[in-house]
Amino acid sequence: MNNVDQLKDKLESSFIVFENELNGQSKSPVHKIRQEAFKVFEEKGFPTKKDEEWRYTNLRPILKHDYRIFTENENPIDFKDVKKYFLTDVDTYKLVFIDGVFSSWLSETTHSKFDICTFSSMLDKYEDVSEKYFNKALPQDESFVAINTAFAKEGAFIRIKKNETVDKPVQVLFFTSKLEHDAFFQPRNLIVVEENAEVTIVERHQSLSDHNVLTNSATEIFAEKSSRLNYYKVQNDGPNASLIDNTTVQQFGKSVVNIGTFAFGNKFVRNNLNIMIQEEHTESYMDGITILGEGQVVDHHTLADHKFANCYSSELYKGIYDGNSKGIFNGKVMVHPDAQKTNAFQQNNNILLTDKASVDTKPQLEIFADDVKCSHGCTIGQLNEDAMFYMQARGIPAKEAKALLLYAFANDGLRNVKIKELRKKLNKLIATKLKVDLDFEL
């Protein structure tokens, strides 16, 4: 039996253990959904390069480890050790999880005008919510989504009620403590932004362990009529951490959704980001900055699914690849027959800094309506030598000139980052990643 089969086997036996521990809950509707999801995984198994959606990515090196499926909060974490991962200049709500378990002392929750709490408490308290939303957004035939759904137990639950605007950003942080073994996590998030409500969320996964960590995260987002959502994913985890992120947004009339994915770290990241447009006059933005170095792989798969007329989507992904890093961008824009007057824009620009770095970029536009405006552009290039000389001739040393050019290249990926401190942090991450000490607050 190979390592990947062993992991599948382990998940199967773990699921039985998980069910046994549920006791009374094992008959609940939620658990029915889990069981069905697990069946999907049992039938499909892990994806391989034969799957169209995974043809550029070899999962074997990620799945071969001896991951433990159930990890309790094994080591405490002091705030001072993880402070740098938080936004601290601005007041925020915080949902913090350590080794998959909610950490109440690092968190700041609320139930007053809106719910900013845990997925588990949502399951306990709001049966109507789980019935209406749980597993209703994500695709059902994806193996990793199925695994996550099967083991869905904990994560963030954020529900902003009608006409409410959350007064401060919400930080959702998943830490892995200094575990002495490899671990596989399944965080599950549910975000509901009700009619005319507004919220801004920042999500991070950080491992403090030297062992291999694989996080298979699933997030369902419902952006209801006229709601406004900003969701920023900061992916700058350590060299032993891998992330598979499945996020699907169901977007309703006149809502504005803005998702930023900023990938700088990790050994391996796969982002499956789907925006499913369910009514007219929506606006969707998907922005990304990817800066990778030696040994890193980031695979972005995005979907803008235009089912209804008069909607706008705009996608801008910038990538800089150093060392032997590898990037993948697969951007699908689907315009259904009824989605007339769709305005869809997609752009993916990449710079390769070495001969060993590579990127596969694939725009995938499927347009079945005739009165639409769709544009896309993909570029892969090197640094502009003329620009380098120009800057050097003005006294800017080669290293700084290069960094400034790359920064300028990547910078418009930050166009929709509305939290000043987050912008600053991202600018700093970019500078660090480009190995320069420049004040990038341009």
Partner: protein, 250 residues
């Protein structure tokens, strides 16, 4: 200040400069003229340190120091400024931030602290006035979407901010209408001092009506074939470059 002796240089094995000799002293304005393809832009790029060009023979001394092995930024730090014939568009970097980085890197090389923000702003305003530039210009991306005239004005604006010892103006007049030419030339003239020097590279005489040279050199096939006072420029203008070619053929 600048002493170029027997300079041979080329690109990818093709020799373009075939033994240039040129000496520029503080306070002087030199014009280098010549037909297309004579090596004018190559000469300016080689002095500024563009690495694509290979110096195969000869020396470039700047203030008695051989600068042939210095990187472009190191030459800039020593006070050499090249105004580009085709300034590069750099989207995402504003004029202000480019200048800020440039000035502070220059200062760093001289062991100075970064310039204070208000001091820099004041200086920018002053120099912009000199070049009759609009304030809004500072927050635009460097050269992106600039007209030909704006690009050249921006070059001279940067020169005014950086206060170089030696300014090389490569075809600064190309793409300028008569008003812009006057403004740019006026800017250059106001920046002139007994301590700094200027090399004006141009195809036409008209810029030299505004920036009056002390010496005029004619570059042809990689060599300076004729040098003289400003009258040489007028002669070139009336007779054309064929005159030089014929004279050389004799």
């Amino acid at each position: 200040m600048l002493k170029v002796s027997n300079l041979h240089a080329g690109i990818e094995g093709n020799e373009i400069l075939r033994g240039i000799n040129l000496e520029v002293k503080p306070g002087e304005v030199h014009a280098i003229m010549g037909p297309n393809g004579s090596g004018k832009s190559t000469l300016s790029a080689v002095i500024a340190g563009r690495e694509d060009y290979e110096v195969t023979e000869g020396h470039i001394d700047f203030n008695h120091e051989d600068i042939a092995d210095l990187a472009p930024e190191e030459r800039a730090h020593k006070g050499i400024f090249l105004s580009f014939q085709y300034p590069i568009e750099i989207p995402g970097v504003t004029v202000t931030n480019f200048l800020k980085t440039s000035i502070n890197e220059m200062r760093k090389a001289q062991g100075l602290e970064p310039m204070k923000a208000n001091e820099m702003l004041k200086k920018m305003r002053e120099k912009m006035e000199l070049l009759e530039m609009d304030k809004g210009f500072l927050s635009r991306s460097l050269n992106e979407g600039f007209s030909g005239g704006e690009k050249k004005r921006n070059e001279i604006f940067q020169m005014a901010m950086l206060e170089p010892k030696l300014a090389i103006l490569d075809e600064t007049d190309s793409g300028l209408d008569i008003d812009a030419l006057r403004i740019v030339a006026n800017g250059v003239n106001k920046l002139k001092s007994p301590e700094n020097a200027t090399i004006v590279i141009t195809h036409y005489q008209r810029l030299l009506e505004h920036i009056v040279p002390d010496f005029v050199h004619v570059l042809y096939k990689g060599r300076i074939v004729k040098s003289g006072r400003k009258e040489l420029a007028l002669e070139l203008e009336s007779k054309g470059y064929d005159w030089i070619k014929e004279e050389l053929a004799v």
